[in-house]
C-alpha cells in the first residue's frame, strides 16, 4: 500500500550521504583537533561532552534535515519552501545541540510541528504517504522520544508524570493513525481499494484488446462450467479455502495449476459465492507465481491484474486486517503481498465488469445477502 514515490527516491541516497558526511565530519574534526586547530578542538570538546542521547537525537535531526532538503526539487510551491525551512531548521538545531543550553525545547517544538504538518498534508491530500515520508516520520518520532527523555522535571506532580508517560505514545499513535487515514482517504490511481494494487495499463483498450478480453471471458466460462457442482471441482483437485465469517466468497485452489499462465483450461482457483441455496460458481481466478510478476493482459486495461499488499494475514484460518503505515501487524499475523491475480466473473458483475478486482457490492449483496 505504501511504495516509494519516484520523486522521493533521491531522499534515500541523501540520507546515506548525510550519515557518511556526519561521520566523516566528526573524524575530520578529531584529526584537526589532534593537530591543535583551536576551533576544531573546541568543537570536538563540545561534542565529547554531550550525552549519548544528545548525540543520537542530533544525528537523527541532521538525517531528517538532509532528507527534507533532498526532497525540495520534487516539491513546488509552499511545500517546497517549507521543506527548505524545515531542513535548515533541523540542521541548525542539530548543531545547536552541542553549543547551546536552550536547544531542547525548540527542537521538541520543531519535531512536533513537522510531524503534525505532515499529517495535515497527508489527510488533506496535498502529499501521498510513501515509505520515504513514513521512514522520515519514524526518524523524527525516535528523535522526539529521545528529547523527551532529556527533560529533567523539577516538579514531579501526578499530572506531569502522567503527561510524561503518555505524551510520546500518544504522538506515535496520532502519527500512525493520521498517515493511515490520509492513505486510505486519498489512494493513488493504482489502488483499487485499500490493499489492492492494480497493474499499470493504458487508459483505453484497442479493438483487438476488446476482442481478446471477450474471448478470455468466453473461454473461461466454457472451461469452468463443469465445476458448477463444488464436488466436481474437489474431484478435479481444487481444494476448498477456509470458511470466513467476514467473506461470503470462497476460493477453491488447485496447486497442480500453479505453473499455468492465464490458461482458461487450468485456472489457479475457482470462486464460489456462499448463497442461501449453497455454493454457486461465480468465476475463476488466475494467479502468477511471484509477487510483482504481472501476468499477460490480452485485454489491456480491460484485463488488469491486481495484487494484494499490506494485509496482516493470520495462519489461524482466513483472518486478516490491514497493516499499519509503520508495517506492524497484530501479534500472530504477518504482513503479506500476494502474487498478482486476475478474476474473471462468469456472472453479470454489474458496473464493475467481468474482470474487476472485486465482485460488485450490489451483486454480492443480491447473491449472498451480505456486502
Amino acid at each position: 500500500m505504501y511504495d516509494i514515490a519516484t520523486d522521493h527516491a533521491a531522499a534515500l541516497s541523501a540520507a546515506l550521504i548525510t550519515l557518511v558526511f556526519g561521520v566523516a565530519f566528526v573524524l575530520g574534526l578529531r584529526f584537526l583537533a589532534a593537530r591543535h586547530v583551536a576551533w576544531a578542538a573546541r568543537t570536538t570538546q563540545a561534542y565529547g561532552a554531550a550525552t549519548s542521547i544528545t548525540k543520537l537525537a542530533a544525528a537523527l535531526m541532521l538525517l531528517s534535515g538532509g532528507i527534507h532538503l533532498a526532497l525540495v526539487p520534487g516539491h513546488e510551491g509552499i511545500t517546497g519552501v517549507l521543506f527548505i525551512v524545515d531542513g535548515l531548521g533541523f540542521i541548525g538545531l542539530a548543531i545547536a545541540a552541542f553549543f547551546t543550553t536552550w536547544w531542547r525545547r525548540p527542537a521538541v517544538l520543531w519535531l512536533v510541528a513537522t510531524i503534525l504538518a505532515y499529517i495535515v498534508w497527508v489527510i488533506a491530500g496535498w502529499e501521498s504517504p510513501d515509505q520515504v515520508g513514513i521512514a522520515c516520520k519514524l526518524i523524527e518520532l525516535v528523535a522526539l522520544g529521545l528529547l523527551m527523555r532529556l527533560a529533567n522535571p523539577t516538579r514531579r506532580t501526578w499530572p506531569r508524570r502522567i503527561w510524561r508517560a503518555t505524551a510520546f505514545p500518544l504522538m506515535a499513535c496520532v502519527t500512525t493513525l493520521g498517515i493511515w487515514v490520509g492513505g486510505l482517504a486519498h489512494p493513488d490511481a493504482l489502488h483499487a481499494h485499500a490493499g489492492a494494487l492494480l497493474q499499470p495499463v493504458a487508459d483505453v483498450a484497442t479493438a483487438e484488446q476488446q476482442v481478446a478480453a471477450a474471448r478470455l471471458l468466453a473461454d473461461t466460462r466454457a472451461s469452468i462450467a463443469r465445476y458448477q457442482d463444488p464436488a466436481a471441482a474437489i474431484a478435479a483437485g481444487f481444494k476448498p479455502g477456509a470458511v470466513s465469517s467476514a467473506d461470503p466468497l470462497r476460493h477453491f485452489e488447485n496447486a497442480a495449476n500453479a505453473n499455468a499462465i492465464l490458461d482458461p483450461t487450468r485456472p489457479q482457483a475457482l470462486v464460489y459465492a456462499q448463497t442461501t441455496h449453497g455454493l454457486q460458481l461465480i468465476g475463476a481466478m488466475y494467479q502468477m507465481k511471484r509477487a510483482g510478476q504481472w501476468g499477460p493482459d490480452p485485454g489491456g486495461p480491460l484485463t488488469q491484474w491486481h495484487q494484494h499488499e499490506g494485509i496482516c494475514f493470520s495462519p489461524f484460518g482466513i483472518e486478516f486486517s490491514f497493516e499499519t503505515p509503520f508495517w506492524t501487524c497484530p501479534v500472530g499475523s504477518t504482513s503479506i503481498t500476494t502474487p498478482p491475480m486476475l478474476h474473471v466473473w462468469i456472472i453479470d458483475n454489474g458496473k464493475e465488469g467481468p474482470f474487476a478486482a472485486d465482485l460488485d457490492k450490489a451483486v454480492q449483496r443480491q447473491l449472498t445477502g451480505r456486502s
Partner: protein, 128 residues
Amino acid sequence: MNRTASINNGAAEIASVLVVVQASFSLVAGLSAIPFAVVEPGFRVLALLTILIAAAMFWLARNLRRGRRWAWRWLVTLEVLSLAMTALLSLLPIGAIRGPVPVLVNLLIPLSILVLLAAAKSDARRAA
C-alpha cells in the same frame, strides 16, 4: 531488589525509547485490528493479545530505565524472538519485508535495542 544502578545509563535510556516506539506501534496494530475483530472472531484474541503485549513493553521500558535486570532479560528475549521471526518471514516469498520502513521497524530497531542492551550490560559489569 534485583537492580543494577549502572544499567540505568545512556544505552539503556536510548533502548527504552526505542522499546516505547515499538510498543506504540504494537498498540496501534492491536487497536486497528478491533474493527476487523467484529467480523473475524480470531482477531478478537489477536487484538487483545497485541494490546496486552504493547502494555507489557511500556512497563518493561519503564523498568529498564529504572535499572531492573528482569526487564533487561525480558526485553532481550522479546527482541531476539522478534528478530528471529523477521528473519524467518523474510525468507518466505510473501513480501513481508519490502522497502525501508519494514527494514527500519522490523530489523534495525530490534537489532539496535539488542546492541544497546548489550552495551548497557557491559557498562554495568565495568562499573561493578
